[in-house]
Symmetry: C2
Subunit: 318 residues, 2 copies
């Protein structure tokens, strides 16, 4: 019998979600485990395996699984390892694909979460049929997956595509979690937008709905809700964010001349508030030859399934 | 009889040089014609063909030529055209590969000059055996060729790799020939270095050998000669240039995680004066995971032959 399905596993700092996916991109069944409860990664993989057996019963069990794709922070496609992930409980190098493959008895492939998202878009989403595009994930941080000539770019060491850590503001840029300053991620992520909101609240005098919220607890969602109600300061916060993101995108275009840039993740859900200023400032900064040629699209994957789909899609070609 | 040689043609705004190249990267014979004397591109190609016949006599003539590779400003690999090249006499779209191929009766391939240089380095030079590297050409302007997974990056439209036009200085950046401001090219090219020299001469008070030269006529070579004599201001001009270049390189690394960055062209010949500050500031700005891992190398191609070799190398795989 042909093996009909793949498993996609998306590892986050808190939760790990996984599911069984068919070739058309339907998530047939899914489940989750807590990521951070086991110091021993083997026990964690045991947990996933036990949960997997439960959901796999109705789909032919492990005998119907071609392979397992895993999206993980600092996941390296070449080595199959998670390497020095600051937000995971396991320190140093974890030979994840080896451990998972041994436990499940099928091939397992690892990459980072943004790369998994890029493969998901290419296989099932907004980038179907495209050979050159960039996905930018706007979540807690800013991640990216770059596809050139139909292939994900891994680079010499497997870590290519850290566009969230290109420098947006050279002088007096914001402190980034990576130890450097001025990274795109400190401005264009959900956290970055909230930082901008706090700065604007403190340094500006205009009235704003956001002033009703304790400054330190403002989230990107609060800014979105205020913007929807026409709050001018909230709209300006999006414009500031979109300007920095758009400027960065124009430089990314100069690198790989993509057909499209796809925005994915929490902040992308703010719709026109984020995309209008982003496109405006990207266009303003593009070389003439690319003006009005590069599409900026939203992800076409269902948010709840996207991570599983992307990770799973990794393994169709294994 | 196997066709043993290729022809490399390097089109510049003033001169066009070309040569017959063997598989080991020896330029067996070369010649040149003036680029800008014919409004009619067909007459220009006739000129090249007549000159080619003279140098080809000793090497079996056209019957021994596998193909012709052409490096040209705004050359597009996908279309074979030169498209809207500001520094060439022919305006609009010139179907160059078609015209050359018809005239010579062998396949002809076009790309831009920096891409040709990248292929030259990969085939014969500093990047032999590398699958992921970036070449930066530091000449009148700043060009780039990006190789990922052993292949040159052309992007969706054939124009990928315009790294000289990524933005180095967002606020009050220098006016660039492309119409935008703050491009890397306005700082890190030979012209950019000379602009920095003029700025330093005007705004600083220190004595300098450069003050003996009329300010408007200072060239990058003057700055190099002064630096060699220990002139502190000249050395600082290189440091300023290397800082901006190094910062840019660190962002390029975040994109494609190359094994090496190769510097090519006039300014690269300034040796340690340019490479030391470039590497220092690249390292300072790299994400931790890439520190001390990315080589910065000089081109290993003989300067006079590099453009011909690069263009010729384009066509070995045709």
């Amino acid at each position: 019998m042909d093996k009909k399905y793949v498993v996609g596993i998306d590892i986050g700092g808190t939760n790990t979600v996984f599911g069984i996916v068919d070739a058309r991109g339907n998530v047939l069944a899914k489940s989750s485990v807590k990521t951070a409860v086991h110091q021993d990664v083997n026990l964690y993989i045991n947990d996933i395996y036990e949960e997997f057996l439960k959901i796999a019963k109705d789909f032919g069990g492990i005998g119907n699984i071609r392979g397992i794709g895993i999206g993980a922070p600092n996941g390296n496609y070449y080595t199959g390892n998670i390497e020095f992930a600051p937000n995971l409980i396991w320190k140093g190098i974890v030979p994840l694909s080896k451990l998972v493959s041994e436990k499940f008895g099928v091939p397992a492939v690892v990459t980072n979460d943004a790369n998994a998202a890029a493969i998901g878009e290419m296989t099932y989403g907004a980038a179907r049929g495209m050979k050159n595009f960039i996905i930018i994930t706007l979540g807690t941080g800013v991640g990216s997956g770059i596809v050139i000539d139909g292939k994900l770019v891994y680079g010499h060491d497997g870590f290519a595509g850290e566009l969230g850590h290109t420098c947006s503001v050279r002088e007096n840029g914001r402190q980034c979690g990576c130890g450097r300053k001025g990274c795109l991620e400190t401005y264009a992520s959900a956290n970055g937008l909230a930082r901008t909101a706090r700065e604007f609240i403190e340094t500006r005098k205009e009235p704003s709905l956001l002033r009703n919220i304790p400054c330190e607890s403002i989230t990107s969602k609060d800014v979105y809700e205020a913007a929807k109600q026409g709050d001018k300061l909230a709209i300006e916060i999006f414009e500031f964010t979109g300007k920095i993101l758009g400027e960065a995108l124009s430089d990314f275009v100069a690198f790989s001349a993509p057909e499209a840039i796809i925005l994915f993740g929490g902040l992308a859900k703010s719709g026109d508030f984020i995309i209008k200023p982003t496109v405006e400032h990207m266009e303003k900064n593009l070389l003439v030859l690319w003006k009005n040629k590069v599409k900026v699209l939203f992800s076409a994957l269902k948010e709840a399934d996207a991570a599983i789909l992307g990770a799973g899609a990794l393994t169709w070609e294994v």
